[in-house]
Amino acid sequence: MLGQLARFAAALRAAGLRVGLGDEVDAAAALTLVDLLDRGEVHRALRIALKLPREAWELYDRLFAEYWDGIRAPRHDALERALREQRAPPQWQWDGARVRLALAERDDDEQPEGDTPGWSPEAMLRRKPFEQCSASEIAALERMLERLAPRLAALRTRRLTPTRGRGHVDLRRSFRHALRSEGDLVRLARRTRALEEPSLVVLFDTSGSMAAYTRMLLAFSFALRRSIRKVEIFAFNTSLARVTRLISPAEVVRTLERLAARVPDWSGGTRIGACLEAFSARYRDAVVNRHTTVLVVSDGLDHGEGAVLGRAMRELRARAARVVWLNPLAGDARYRPQADGMLAALPFIDHFGAAHNLESLEGLLRHLS
């Protein structure tokens, strides 16, 4: 029984779920308390003891069937290959916290000789638009992204810490001081707001017109997550999905596919305004506060009404510390914002920047601090 549990836990880990030794011990303890002949009960108890979040249930059910009922699920690589064939190359494959490009075999063969990162001087690569990059260049960019560790200015929070300057009166400490002077409040101790890390909300457009940039920007968002602890990531095209919590980046790709499946015409429209509204309704109060930088990544080609987008942006601007809009089209010197949606959004943007190459993304970091 314990051996079976250990194998099951290992399989969950291999699938990208965070299952620690402590959780295994808890699961074992739970198994001693339940009716082992009742499949449903074992299923529920393990899920509770292994502390699996809602997003992991689907995976859990599949592996449970495989390891406890002896039903072999379809092999994962077969599944993955099927998925891969549906998508256009090149593909991203995710490896734990690291994002790297998985080259299909034929891509390797077609790789022109000498086209290695070493051949493209870093400076040139930084300026090369993503859509013109070869697979290996993307991989090199990806490594550069990883080194990018922005130092972000600390912001103030609501928690109070002692201060010598101005602030709220701290009775507890004032009183301690008063004791020394036999009960007279000679000096008032004060508290002020503590320093805290900034938070960031990334909303990025995954519609067809953004396809060349999506994967790179996704990698960028995940890179940010390594240096800023509070990063929330959302993807949208005609509907919105929160992707922050997805346990592994592989799941992000799966979610993008689910999003894509919901769009009748993949290359067609984006409803930026409606999606931002949906964001405001469901998540804004929870993830946006006065210290939050909201980063919208989209080309602004909205198929909804401009007025809706304008309203949503106004609301967002009112609550966030700043709103930054990244538009890959803005990398072209000839670009002028003319799309209805973009024009409606512009008045509420603190910084409007390009996002077509690594240099533009690096430049953005200044605006995040």
Binding site: D35, A45, I48, R172, E182
Partner: protein, 295 residues
């Protein structure tokens, strides 16, 4: 099913909470393994209610700590009663007492104001149920402090020393997932995710919580709400809303749903102007028709 889990389920039901097997199993395991239970789920699925029912089941006190941004130990744990302390000092001064002894005098237990966490671990009559509500709203510093408390069940007050728990309370934490909780806290707890109830469960809740409701009305209301939750809404109606609505309809002496009454009372279910606008006459007609279908 394990007899004891079934017993927990039946006991919860007698106390007015319709628990599906997952909830009963989680409560049973948390009790047996003496671990805090972290409950997550959308607003309105009855997370807080679990704690209330547990307190009723165990015949004990429910100690509740509502979390918010900026919550600190002064509000969560303990505070000194300054006014009383100052008063005592002034009296002592008149009496001409030795200042060195004053400190000992005024930092006694009787000058200590118990806040929920201290209250929960010092309850003498037996273990309390401690509900730490919406823990995702408190900041991370507080979460770290909480983790320490949940590991040792002891609190150190500099002026008094360490206070150990008289009885280890049954701890429930709820989270609306507005922020990801730290891994350490998550690992410390057992984990339960509660979803909106299915049709049968919601029906049983209505029968239990709305005395005198007719079978026809209960079924109509439950089917209507189930269908309503499938729509794209900003705030999905929770179980509490379903109960409110059923009660409202009973006060209006309705035994079934009709479009006009539904339109007039929809505010019981939908509490967002946008959602109300989005559920227009046509949508209501469709929902009422669905609710009336047998089955």
């Amino acid at each position: 099913m394990n007899e004891e889990i079934r017993a927990v389920q039946e006991h919860m039901e007698r106390c007015g909470y319709i628990a599906e097997p997952a909830i009963a199993t989680a409560v049973f395991l948390a009790r047996e393994m003496r671990r805090p239970l972290l409950v997550e789920g959308e607003a309105g699925v009855g997370k807080t209610e679990i704690a209330k029912v547990l307190a009723r089941m165990l015949g004990t006190e429910l100690v509740r700590l509502q979390c918010y941004e900026g919550l600190d130990t002064h509000t969560a744990l303990y505070e000194w009663n300054y006014q009383r302390q100052i008063l005592r000092l002034k009296i002592a001064e008149r009496e001409g007492r030795d200042p060195a002894k004053l400190e000992e005098l005024i930092f006694g237990r009787e000058y200590l104001l118990e806040r929920p966490l201290l209250r929960a671990i010092t309850r003498r009559e037996g273990p309390a149920v401690l509900l730490i509500d919406e823990v995702d709203r408190a900041d991370e510093g507080f979460e770290a402090f909480l983790l320490e408390l949940l590991s040792d069940f002891q609190i150190t007050i500099p002026e008094l020393g360490t206070i150990c728990a008289e009885h280890v309370p049954f701890v429930l934490l709820t989270s609306n997932r507005s922020r990801e909780l730290s891994d350490a806290l998550r690992r410390r707890c057992l984990y339960l995710y509660v979803e909106h109830p299915g049709l049968e469960k919601e029906l049983r809740i209505l029968r239990a919580r709305v005395p005198g409701v007719s079978e026809r009305l209960a079924r109509g209301v439950a089917r209507f709400v189930q269908r309503l939750r499938e729509r794209e809404l900003r705030k999905l109606p929770g179980v509490a809303e379903t109960i409110d609505w059923a009660q409202a309809l009973m006060r209006l002496h309705k035994d079934g749903l009709d479009a006009e009454t539904v339109g007039a009372t929809l505010g019981c279910l939908l509490k967002d102007a946008h959602d109300l606008r989005a559920t227009g006459r046509e949508a209501i007609a469709e929902l009422v028709e669905h609710a009336a279908e047998p089955g």
